[in-house]
């Protein structure tokens, strides 16, 4: 296998970070939509009680954590873009 050169690895990671952000987005939306469609609002007959309240609290925390990971991925992507930009500059 050919050695992975810095720009190639950066380019590849950049693409995967785009994928990651999209995949996290799909996952977050899937959970939100499914929760709304199948479990209903917090006081719905679909599921009530203490376990539902615990679930909602945990769900919210996890939702926030997943959204934060999207931000972290975007931030890493910026550094990777910088590496790629530096590489494109003429070397002296």
């Amino acid at each position: 296998m050919a050695e992975t050169t810095p720009p190639r690895a950066a380019y590849w990671l950049d693409q995967q970070l785009t994928q990651l952000i999209a995949k996290l987005d799909v996952f977050i939306r899937l959970r939100t939509d499914q929760r709304k469609a199948l479990l209903g609002h917090p006081h719905s007959d679909n599921w009530q009680g203490a376990k539902r309240r615990n679930f909602d609290t945990t769900f919210k925390q996890q939702h926030d954590a997943l959204v934060a990971l999207k931000t972290a991925a975007a931030s890493l992507q910026k550094s990777v873009a910088q590496v790629l930009a530096d590489d494109r500059k003429p070397h002296h």
Partner: protein
């Protein structure tokens, strides 16, 4: 009193845990290597994949527990009748008690399974002929728990080495493994070992052979394992969810005589997919495994035996992967057909490319693939249907329509059987076949009361396959410029067909004409 609709909770749990597992596999097989490659070039170390894995894992366990809550609600009814819509009302304390009991039972069962497996570990270094029967009583004990998925999952998760897994399967542990998978609690490590086991060629001999180690599986046992997985939708579903593209490749190409059976397992899994996104992800995983970068090439003779099961898989996948429309304005519908066409084309691209590459000089194959034969994959997708009521109607209607519009002849198989030139009117046939994926989008519209005939009457689907097939056939063979969708100022069906087909064909065409094509999901 508190209430729940257990069926809804179970559906929520199944959909979300499956998505989590899928995402976790991607992190493991794609993101982590990409980060490592980047760090190896001297860039600072980043643990983003670890953080993502932890977050997904937390979501997975939260959503998995929802299934147990559903079972706890069910347990409070002691098998009694449920309320309207499956509603259960119970005292909260009763639900808590049932829940605690369930969790304790599951964990205890998994621990008991692991304890039994631990008795095998000391045997791993023994030569077979020295002690060929040592493992037998342990596997016999396991067989007694074959109806207990958690016990079996605990057992198989505790096996850490391939020879131990093989020994158990060779001595009669296959039903227990299938049972373990139906629990959804089998570890990724165990799945990696099972996939490797399926990929390793079977050997002649087996448990009773004096010349073979007792831990070798026979060909019959391997076939039995794959058939049993394919016959158990829940097990096949969880098994496929846990696979990586590399493991799909290992299973499919490792032992070619079983490639068809591997596809049957994957098709059963595809049939259980509950969302268009999940169906697409499974198609992508299989496409990358079978036809992605670095995959072995299938020859024309390989295709002869594999075209049926491979097409059946993609046919089911395509029918499951069209999302329902949400915007019924003219622009909204055109956009929806554009996306459905582009996605279907993209999902099939690697498959088409591989088929095309197997016989690049054959003018008819080339013409079929380039001209829109993509929907020939629908022909064999018959016996399996999605579970959801709405999806089932749409699926049957679209499938029936395609089967009736297209003749009983099977152009691709006929062609591989050396009947090139038999269908001179390939343009006409292409036109009909390209209607397959589009028929599915039309059924989704008709089910939402959005499709109108030339007299401006709504086109209804009934759920009866023969009736619906005729209805759709009438639409598709009629003047599509006079059928409309989405109200008086809505789009003409002919315009929607153009929107769908142009995108689908473009994606397929791109794949077979670019030597180094790689799909966006690679």
């Amino acid at each position: 009193m508190v209430s729940a609709i257990p069926e809804n909770l179970i559906k929520y749990s199944a959909t979300c845990t499956a998505a989590a597992q899928e995402l976790q596999n991607w992190v493991r097989s794609v993101l982590t290597p990409a980060l490592l490659a980047y760090q190896n070039t001297g860039q600072p170390c980043v643990d983003l994949d670890g953080e993502v894995a932890v977050a997904i894992s937390r979501a997975y366990y939260t959503d998995r527990d929802v299934h147990d809550v559903a079972r706890a609600f069910q347990a409070t009814q002691h098998g009694g009748a449920l309320g309207p819509g499956g509603l259960v009302r119970a005292h909260e304390s009763d639900v808590d008690t049932a829940y605690t009991q369930l969790l304790a039972q599951n964990q205890a069962k998994m621990r008991a399974g692991a304890a039994l497996a631990a008795r095998l570990t000391p045997l791993q270094d023994l030569g077979d002929r020295d002690n060929p029967d040592a493992a037998r009583p342990i596997v016999e004990e396991l067989a007694k728990h074959a109806n207990d998925p958690y016990f079996c999952a605990g057992f198989f998760n505790a096996l850490t080495l391939q020879p131990l897994l093989t020994t158990v399967l060779a001595l009669g542990g296959i039903p227990a493994l299938i049972s373990a998978y139906s629990s959804g609690a089998v570890s990724p490590h165990t799945t990696a070992m099972v996939a490797a086991r399926i990929g390793i060629p079977a050997v002649v001999g087996g448990p009773e052979s004096p010349t073979s180690p007792f831990y070798r599986m026979t060909s019959e046992q391997k076939a039995q394992l794959l058939d049993a997985l394919a016959a158990n939708p829940s097990a096949a579903y969880h098994f496929a969810k846990a696979l990586t593209p590399a493991e799909v490749r290992e299973m499919f190409y490792g032992d070619r005589q079983y490639s068809g059976k591997v596809m049957a397992v994957l098709q059963t899994a595809m049939n259980c997919e509950r969302s268009p996104q999940a169906a697409r992800e499974l198609m992508h995983k299989v496409s990358l495994g079978l036809f992605g970068s670095g995959a072995p090439k299938l020859s024309n003779s390989d295709w002869k035996s594999l075209i049926g099961p491979v097409r059946a898989f993609y046919g089911t996948g395509m029918l499951n992967s069209v999302p329902a429309p949400t915007d019924f304005s003219r622009d909204g519908l055109e956009e929806w057909e554009h996306i459905a066409g582009a996605q279907n084309g993209e999902d099939l691209a690697l498959f088409l490319k591989a088929l095309h590459d197997s016989q690049p000089d054959d003018a008819l194959v080339k013409s079929m693939v380039q001209g829109g034969y993509v929907n020939a994959v629908f022909l064999l997708a018959g016996p399996l249907e999605p579970e959801a009521w709405g999806a089932k109607i749409a699926f049957s209607a679209a499938l029936g329509t395609v089967q009736s519009v297209v003749s009983a002849n099977d152009p691709i198989i006929e062609n591989l059987g050396l009947s090139a030139g038999r269908y001179p009117d390939t343009d006409g046939m292409n036109e009909k076949l390209a209607l397959g994926g589009f028929a599915q989008t039309l059924t989704l519209l008709a089910m939402r009361n959005q499709l109108r005939d030339p007299s401006n009457h709504l086109v209804h689907l009934t759920g009866d396959q023969a009736t619906d097939r005729n209805t759709l056939r009438e639409v598709l063979s009629g003047d599509l410029t006079r059928y409309t969708v989405g109200g008086t100022d809505g789009a003409r069906v002919s315009e929607l067909l153009d929107a769908y087909k142009s995108q689908e064909l473009e994606a397929g065409f791109k794949a077979i004409t670019s030597p180094h094509y790689s799909p966006p999901y690679e």
